[in-house]
Subunit: 428 residues, 2 copies
Amino acid sequence: MTTYSDLSSEELRQEYSRLQERYSSYKQLGLNLNMSRGKPCPEQLNLSMGLMDVLSSNVDLHCADGTDCRNYGVLGGIREAQELLGSIIECPPESIMIYGNSSLNVMYDQISRSMTHGVMGSTPWCKLDKVKFLCPVPGYDRHFAITEYFGIDMINVPMSDIGPDMDMVEELVSSDPAIKGIWCVPKYSNPTGITYSEETVKRFARLKPAAPDFRIYWDNAYSVHHLYDDDQDFLIEILAECQKAGNPDIVYKFTSTSKISFPGSGIAAIATSENNLKDIRRQFRIQTIGHDKVNQLRHVRYFRNVESVREHMMKHAAILRPKFELVERIFDEELSGLGIGTWTKPKGGYFIAFQSLPGLARSIISSCKECGVELTEAGATYPYHNDPENSSIRIAPTYPSLKELENASHIFATVVRLETVRQLLEKR
Amino acid sequence: MTTYSDLSSEELRQEYSRLQERYSSYKQLGLNLNMSRGKPCPEQLNLSMGLMDVLSSNVDLHCADGTDCRNYGVLGGIREAQELLGSIIECPPESIMIYGNSSLNVMYDQISRSMTHGVMGSTPWCKLDKVKFLCPVPGYDRHFAITEYFGIDMINVPMSDIGPDMDMVEELVSSDPAIKGIWCVPKYSNPTGITYSEETVKRFARLKPAAPDFRIYWDNAYSVHHLYDDDQDFLIEILAECQKAGNPDIVYKFTSTSKISFPGSGIAAIATSENNLKDIRRQFRIQTIGHDKVNQLRHVRYFRNVESVREHMMKHAAILRPKFELVERIFDEELSGLGIGTWTKPKGGYFIAFQSLPGLARSIISSCKECGVELTEAGATYPYHNDPENSSIRIAPTYPSLKELENASHIFATVVRLETVRQLLEKR
């Protein structure tokens, strides 16, 4: 196949008018598809309806240790939930605190507390002239929104197929005491879908930060969210690595059941060292009397153990796999060989990352929107919504139906081609 | 009856040895009773077991407006929950945001955000030299713990039968711009059980604070928590009063279903002006994708409307009323007329406040503990755990059984008499 840049201007003009015709006909379909957020689809939600049946007025709501889940108390969650979440993220129950329904809220609380009270006795960040975070890009918009909200300076760190640029991370973290953290989605990364290599994780564990209150914000959101039964990414466990490296306090690990059971009605958790847990508990006991233990019990009774969680996740995979494969097939058919973009083929997670030619992401996203396909806002995967290349597009294929996704993928491909041809013609 | 102070030293010594004998025999019972926290008892929890039945895998989990409660989104809660909570606290649903399981956490978030971001554009409190709060005393220990945690100076304001000393509140609030808030439990107050009078609420609504970011933290925790069907306190609605007074932004009103359904597994809410809500939403959308809508739906489906909530609360009252009356009867029999203490007889809420002679609260509480009856820690109802008179004791009669409560009340009365006699003898 000839790439677009090899075409003559005349050929490009012909291609342009063909694509415009296609675009117009798609527009007439009057679609209204949303591929902007990593939202499970209704069929996925149906997988967990059994959650609604495990507790009833005939069921005893006490834990094994006698705790009445209906009443006040038990900061840090019931033992059974610590065990379940621990087995999902490969940490001992002692290192885990269970929160409410949102791991985002747990991360927010970590930053908020660091602003007002510091970390393990350090100066509260709000008293410092400057606080900085490293942000691997492209990354998760809601992470960047938290650090932006607190006025924290964000520094882009490029992502590769094995994680963030660790040379850059090591140099910055060891030299600048204003750098207090780094946002990581280490497995099936949002949005590129890659998993940090063993070497990357080990280099994280061995970091020698200039700031004693530097922490790695390790958002293990997709720990068991594989698309394939036999072809899965593997991430080594960071808490143990940090301990081995003599760096036990350097990491906060976050997780939740949001994309295992019901988003927004799951349980979230933090896993970290005992020193960090002590620091967290000082705030925790002021902030709340305890999180929703009945919902913790509901999850424990329904999921029982990590094996049944894995089985459950394979049911999610059976729904999601065809969606990812459909998008990838259409992109392969429509876009490959034209030299007009690259995209990821993740083995898990919720996103496909598309990289257009520089300068086109914004117009591609807005043309898609005009045609009824809403994508994640341009720039959203970069701090301050500023994608310097204007080329990064996050595609969330999980929510639409296969039929909708087919239309949306063709529209997207058409728009990418159209906008690229327009750019090439303008440059000539 | 002769008061203790009228007794001769010889009579006091005789009384002392009689009481010591009683104390010893109670001690031999080896009791282990906890009257320290306002915890519902298991029979109360059983009242809400139907909550576990309203949702099942056969039940549609969509709202009237089509929202799928299982999925992400809907900041501020589902409309049905805003209506239900609104009807409980007499506010329009538009003025309400639904949170997670803990109103304490909502209050914490309000203060935490004010520290880092100020209030409606004011200077963040963490940038100020001094931030102060007014604390009506005795009051709720967990309120004071939040302000203490954030390093906010707390100023005691005495409580009367109709609310805080409003002359003092008005003078302080209008003259000192460092005063940013006041903690209030306006109905069946914790721990005195009183309800603010109409005049008190109206004076609150008409406050003219020196600080534009001053807010009234109105913790309406016991809005429908009556002990009697026919003899109830009435609190006028403060949001409407503030609006009438041209002071619409001055109050945050908090509530939750914690002592209606299951403590720790209920839903919490804030009600306030649209300006304040806008301010809150700026943070809210950074902090979370949304709270647990399935649990909101569960509450709405189970409780339906405010009438059935009221019926439900009368079932709570039927369990709690005999407990309060038992304690009051034993105190009347054992303590009245001796001039050794006063206690409240609330018509609702969760506490009886006992006032000993000055200087005795700490020793009464510790002697009770030695005898197997745990009361709320001495000083807990005062900022910094500092009860200047050392005379305030909070009694939480809800959790123990009637039999346990009978023992505990006799022990308490015995200890109060014993410690008072000891003090009188020491002074002679």
